[in-house]
Assembly symmetry: C2
Homo-oligomer: 392 residues x 2
């Protein structure tokens, strides 16, 4: 080792101690209240939360500790001003939580891992017990990793520069061609949602490394035709996202109508299998509705469809709709997959869609599980769908 | 417009109202305490912070509102339980802040824009008064945007897969070649620091759009040879980052010794000007030290060097060091730039370095400004350095 380089370590000690002593913003936090650890995933599968709030009257932690819906656990104040609570045993999963202090929601100051859902930040942690559970699948393991890019593309149909997220599998080398899964977010989401809340790159890295999914490109566009990009990443500035912020504005076209702009960009900028057998489209909620629309508008362009908790509705007594559906049936895609949780508030419209498909003897696949309109289910659906496509 | 697609809007109303009513975690936050707005950038350039904390005894906001160091402003409780304070007039800048409630640091629950510095999250906001101030430069404007990628590369020298961030300018089309700026973070930082805290893509997009900087690739590697990637993005899991977490581990080589692995990867995967005149390297603090080391180890590989608040030390009476410096001087790079703030705790070692260079009549450039070892300065240094390079 170069001696003069190794001498730099001495200076690094100075840098560290300088940073500790400094009161400049940001770095000084190195020395702050690190004694409160939270969350602590205990060996028995329970999880302990701690929060220093000496004057607070009521403190609780809310999270998706329950299969069905959010759970709020009251915390108990200790003599040192730290409130604490320990959950029951939690199953392997990626969990989200936040604290409530006297009615105000806060994130955990001891946990720097957060996800944003519309305007709301929540902390996350993972419980994993073995190498084949969901916690492992959603974690970053010692496997080859794909590349994640925030790509700006031109949408002539919408008359906009727009941002999307592109995952390239670890095997992508610019020579070999790969199939493409288009993965669409829900209402209030954006091009960051599937990556952050949906753990897409972790799930895909792990499924591909285990040979359970074919190496593929995953494209996560922004599904709001009145926005260019996620909040803070376009020229509207740092507004407070509310999911409806730009809905009043007229869009030049819908997501479905502008969708082939994305496909064209991807096919001309990446080594894709640029035909039907190399294309899948799937989305959650509003993105499931987009998937439904795309399957009717461009039935010859995609071979695999996945409707996840889809905002998809049968148009009764609508000739245009019926003829679109006939074209879709005639195109015989390799997979038409519908997935929804038992408690999803969109169950009724999905049941009607299935009745319509049944009445036309159309061979779709159906998956129903517990829970409702939640990210926990969409991660499951992504995991299942990714293993069903591009294998023929 | 396709009628059946437009009908989907009706279902979207159902989706929205469903989400509002649902108590499933994450989405339900749509309906929460949105009445408290914070921060509010007022027309007169002051900024108001608000926080609902009805039982708290002491609440304050801390931020980098001051040129030199962090400032803490006590907040006043109103009858409705909301604490408030308004700053004096703030100059155009990207500001960071957090709240303290009875001694515990919290981020602002009304602001979803956050940066992470080591383990500490802070909220951010921007003050801008005109189209040629720092607030504008650090914001996302309606200009062509570059592409940001998280790239995994192989480092044979370190025996690791490692992650770095790569910015490609908007003009990058896979045909034309571009010069490359290597941009290195400080102690405790990682491959996300320059992008998030340093606003690199915003600064580069804006400088390039205004014709002030040449379109260039910017490579932001991870400078910790005992880590593969930023916390949470490699197989060590979601540990609490402390900046020293992995320093006890022996690295196979130093950042400087492994640096050409990065250059080789970039030159073989991107359309670069793969020679000295197309390469610049600059870094802050520890990364300034890395830049200093790189300039001594590979003097024929880079034409532009920028030492920002650098942890760079002259090795007295060290023959190897002196001969490295002689080689560096003889290589005549186009720019050797040293930048530091008046209050930086590394001023002394930088002054010694400048004396050494002066004593050898070496024509470096020097920039000194107010303030210390803070991101505010590093954004300024990036802005200045980016305009000085690749123009000859």
């Amino acid at each position: 080792m170069d001696k003069t380089i190794s001498n730099c370590k001495k200076l690094m000690l100075l840098v560290c101690s300088g940073l500790m002593a400094l009161n400049c913003f940001g770095q000084q936090a190195l020395g702050q209240r690190a004694r409160v650890q939270s969350p602590i995933v205990n060996n028995d599968g329970t999880v302990t939360f701690n929060l220093f709030a000496p004057s607070a009257q009521r403190v609780s932690v809310s999270g998706d500790f329950n299969e069905i819906r959010s759970q709020s656990l009251p915390m108990t104040k200790q003599d040192n001003g730290v409130w604490t609570v320990t959950t029951g045993q939690l199953n392997p999963e990626l969990y989200s939580y936040s604290f409530s202090i006297d009615g105000q929601r806060f994130i955990d100051p001891a946990n720097s891992y957060v996800n944003r859902d519309i305007s709301t930040l929540s902390n996350i942690f993972i419980v994993s017990k073995s190498n084949d559970d969901k916690g492992h699948l959603y974690g970053v393991n010692n496997v080859p990793h794909g590349m994640l890019s925030r790509v700006w593309y031109d949408s002539p149909t919408l008359g906009q520069q727009r941002r999307m997220t592109v995952y390239l599998p670890a095997a992508y080398d610019g020579k070999k061609r790969f199939p493409v899964m288009y993965l669409l977010h829900g209402h209030g989401g954006d091009e960051t949602s599937w990556g952050d809340l949906g753990r897409t790159s972790q799930i895909m890295d792990n499924l591909i490394a285990e040979g359970k999914a074919v190496p593929m490109i995953v494209v996560m566009p922004n599904g709001n035709p009145t926005c260019n990009a996620a909040p803070g990443w376009w020229h509207e500035g740092m507004y407070t996202p509310d999911g409806n912020a730009f809905n009043q504005r007229g869009a030049k076209a819908s997501m479905e109508e502008s969708f082939m702009d994305i496909v064209k960009y991807i096919d001309s900028h990446y080594m894709t299998i640029a035909k039907r057998s190399g294309r899948a489209v799937t989305g959650l909620s509003m993105g499931g509705g987009h998937t439904f629309g795309i399957s009717r508008l461009y039935p010859d362009q995609f071979d695999y469809y996945g409707l996840q908790s889809a905002a998809a509705r049968v148009q009764q007594n609508n000739e245009q709709f019926d003829s679109q559906m006939q074209r879709l049936f005639a195109s015989k895609p390799k997979l038409y997959w519908i997935a929804i949780g038992k408690d999803d508030f969109l169950m009724q419209s999905n049941t009607q869609l299935r009745s319509y498909l049944d009445s036309h003897s159309y061979p779709y696949e159906y998956y129903e599980n517990d829970g409702g309109h939640i990210w926990r289910n969409w991660r499951i659906y992504l995991t299942l769908f990714a293993q069903k496509i591009f294998k023929q």
